[in-house]
Symmetry: C2
Subunit: 90 residues, 2 copies
Amino acid sequence: MSLSQIEYFVAVADQGNVGRAARALRVAQPAVSRQILRLEDELGAELFVRTPRGMTLSRAGVVFLRHARDILAGVRAAADDVRRLDRADG
Amino acid sequence: MSLSQIEYFVAVADQGNVGRAARALRVAQPAVSRQILRLEDELGAELFVRTPRGMTLSRAGVVFLRHARDILAGVRAAADDVRRLDRADG
DNA sequence: TGAGGTTACGCCTATCGTAATAATG
DNA sequence: CATTATTACGATAGGCGTAACCTCA
């Protein structure tokens, strides 16, 4: 699992389909598709239900999404805190 | 920033030096050294104070360590929850 | 046939390991 | 000189983009 995969996953969950997620991420469609597949493979669970109109979260996906947002928020907080501290006292 | 970098960082913090961390991670010493340097570069802050005996956390490092453990715990929880749910209901 | 997701394939960057190079007590 | 971290360098793996392909209404 990688932070990129988590970011891609959140984008697809938010956008509802891979194409829009890819545009939002400024990346090509297959990059997002592949990373989602890899993530599902590693987790051994389908995070999305594929429909002809796009992808909607599965129950596992709903659970994962909560964690995903926490993890990304944690990463941002970590970087922010370190940078703030470093700016404050060198 | 990558999850590997965060894992390497925690290992060095725990072990007190790069060599032991590398052994614990089953990876060569330079791999760990490089990723720590990259992480510090990206954050714009030194996370460790280098001593001839190893590396000890800087103040920024102490702050980052708390976040790092949270992030890794979040990743584990995300995977565990998804796998448990998937096992429970397919 | 149009909208979407996936697979193939070639390229390019990132990471690794081994080996060599500091630096310090 | 022993211990530890870092840099050099060649090899490999992972990720990307373009293009082709599949599926479904």
